[in-house]
């Protein structure tokens, strides 16, 4: 038996949530959900792990802070100390107050850009990357549940389809993978 992908298409995010809840209760594995916008509260229903993007952001922020400390130290203290307003410039700690805006801005810059780029790479949605959503309508007004038969061997594909028919589904598509 060839493995199949089943796409169940819904017209309303709440209907999709109800259907997903029903499938999970019946022991069906939901592979993914495609939607034009984030559906509030879908993550725990389909068993998505909590995002680690915050940790990435923190690490990028720390990296930015370290780079900024290194940069200001090298440029303003070690390589070419400059006398700005008669401020002491022999030691880093004496001058660090003046560097705080730079440290802060560079931390934020690295944290924000690092987080955004990580997000795009992880989702494989960098500009120019081929779209991976199964149906272009999921970027407009349709909400799609993706199921895979190889993950649900305990249910016959027909049984899963029958289960989906009981929910307010708009359309069911099947594809060989």
């Amino acid at each position: 038996m060839a493995n199949k992908v089943i796409y169940a298409i819904y017209e309303d995010p709440e209907e999709l949530k109800g259907a997903a809840r029903k499938l999970i209760t019946a022991g069906v594995q939901v592979r993914d959900v495609f939607s034009p916008f984030p559906i509030h509260g879908i993550d725990p229903i389909i068993g998505l792990k909590r995002t680690r993007l915050g940790i990435v952001s923190f690490m990028f922020g720390m990296m930015g802070l370290s780079l900024a400390v290194l940069g200001t130290y090298y440029m303003m203290i070690y390589d070419w100390p400059m006398n700005i307003g008669g401020k002491p410039n022999h030691y880093y700690y004496q001058n660090v107050t003046g560097f705080v805006p730079v440290l802060f801005e560079f931390t934020v810059l690295c944290a924000a850009h690092g987080m955004a780029i990580t997000y795009l790479i992880r989702n494989k949605t960098l500009p120019g990357m081929p779209a991976r959503n199964p149906d272009p309508r999921s970027t407009n007004d349709k909400f799609i549940i993706e199921l895979r038969t190889e993950e649900n061997t305990q249910h016959a594909p027909e049984a899963i389809t029958a289960m989906l028919r009981e929910t307010p589904v708009f359309e069911i598509n099947e594809r060989q993978c």
Partner: protein
């Protein structure tokens, strides 16, 4: 569900007041400054600190009306109850202002008429004389009375209106909601002016030879932070007692976020003020920091560390904002941090070198004020249903989920 003050809470607040007053009495006995200046200053710092917490909550409460925030509706009564300290706080502040004005204390050097008397060569101060257009007693009192009256009026009006809304439904409820909205807009506009004005009049003019354009916002940041910390600790206390069952982890996390965010606002304003003064290094600007860095470096940098670094590191993760014990612990630390901030705003300026370190007077008045404050807030909580009965956003608030 209505809140009743537990016996333990009653004994605790009473004990705080008694211990505080005994400590303060020892402090007063050991106060050898002229006019018992030290006593007045310690009383004033604590009066302001707790008054500011009430004001911070009143501001946030009005802000929620203006932005039509839904999730706070469940904990609305908590902000309301903390704001109920404003009238009493206004009286405590007023006592010190009146005493200063009558010459019973010398917290405000400029209030002494000799400083602006050209014929009094020994005491005449050209700098203060230049400021008389703004810093004169009649104008000072017009501003003070206007500000205090506004705060007290809005505290009472919001409370009355909120209790009235409990009885309403349908169209009348909606009309009340809009009335709340419009009054809150008015209050926020007035508060924008008054929060800066009171900082200049009541605090910055203590160090009359020093000026900072940012000072008003910095004081406002501290006010707001104090209010947010107190509110979240109080909500966690109530939840620990089994009250507010509908308040879920998302509410708590959002309140924690406010503590985190406003701590950053405060730190930003404090540091910007310091940075600009440090950079330009003009004698008339650095005096304020010179006194504090030379004589109280631990107080100044210590409180900055507690109020900035602790919330930043400890409240960054989601789990820390969802753990009641952790949040209460951090909240108490920052609460003390902001108290230290108020102390270092008032004491060095009004006492000069007589202020050496925090002693019996500051801590004694702190405990006594804390007792009175907690008692006032808990009594206000007990007088009304703990969650609002009717509000257009009540349902949305109950289902708050982030």
């Amino acid at each position: 569900m209505n809140f009743t003050i537990s016996k333990r809470a009653r004994t605790f607040t009473l004990a705080l007041i008694v211990i505080g007053l005994v400590m303060a009495a020892f402090g007063v006995a050991g106060d050898h400054t002229d006019h018992k200046q030290y006593t007045w200053a310690a009383f004033y710092a604590n009066a302001l600190f707790f008054f500011f917490i009430g004001l911070g909550c009143l501001f946030f409460y009005a802000l929620n009306h203006v932005t039509e925030t839904a999730w706070t509706v469940l904990v609305k009564r908590v902000y309301e109850a903390i704001a109920q300290y404003v009238p009493l706080g206004a009286i405590t502040v007023l006592v010190v202002l009146v005493a200063g004005s009558m010459g019973l204390n010398h917290i405000w050097h400029w209030m002494d008429a000799r400083t602006v008397d050209v014929n009094d060569a020994a005491n005449y101060d050209t700098h203060i004389a230049k400021l008389t257009a703004y810093l004169n007693k009649p104008f000072f009192w017009v501003r003070a009375i206007l500000m205090l009256a506004t705060f007290v009026f809005f505290t009472r009006w919001f409370r009355k209106h909120s209790l009235k809304m409990d009885q309403e439904t349908g169209e009348t409820l909606l009309r009340s909601h809009w009335k709340n909205y419009h009054r809150s807009v008015g209050f926020i506009v007035l508060f924008a002016f008054f929060s800066s004005l009171l900082a200049w009049d009541w605090i910055m003019s203590i160090d009359v030879h020093w000026k900072s354009a940012l000072f008003g916002w910095y004081v406002f940041g501290g006010m707001w932070a104090g209010g947010m910390i107190t509110a979240v600790v109080l909500v966690l206390y109530l939840k620990g007692k089994g009250y507010l069952p509908q308040v879920n982890g998302s509410h708590i996390q959002d309140m924690g976020k406010w503590v985190f965010a406003v701590s950053f606002l405060w730190s930003y304003l404090y540091f910007v003020q310091y940075l600009l003064i440090w950079y330009s290094d003009i004698p008339e600007e650095v005096t304020y920091y010179k006194v504090r860095i030379d004589h109280h470096p631990w107080l100044m940098w210590g409180m900055f560390f507690v109020n900035f670094a602790l919330p930043m590191v400890l409240l960054m993760s989601r789990d820390s904002k969802r753990s009641p014990k952790f949040l209460i612990g951090v909240g108490v630390l920052i609460f003390i941090g902001h108290w230290l901030d108020t102390v270092q705003m008032i004491m060095p300026g009004s006492l000069g070198l007589h202020f050496e370190h925090i002693g019996m007077l500051e801590i004694g008045f702190f405990l006594a004020f804390l007792g009175v404050f907690v008692h006032t807030v808990l009594s206000a909580l007990a007088k009304a249903p703990l969650t609002v009965v009717a509000h257009p956003f009540l349902e949305e608030s109950v289902h708050h989920h982030i």
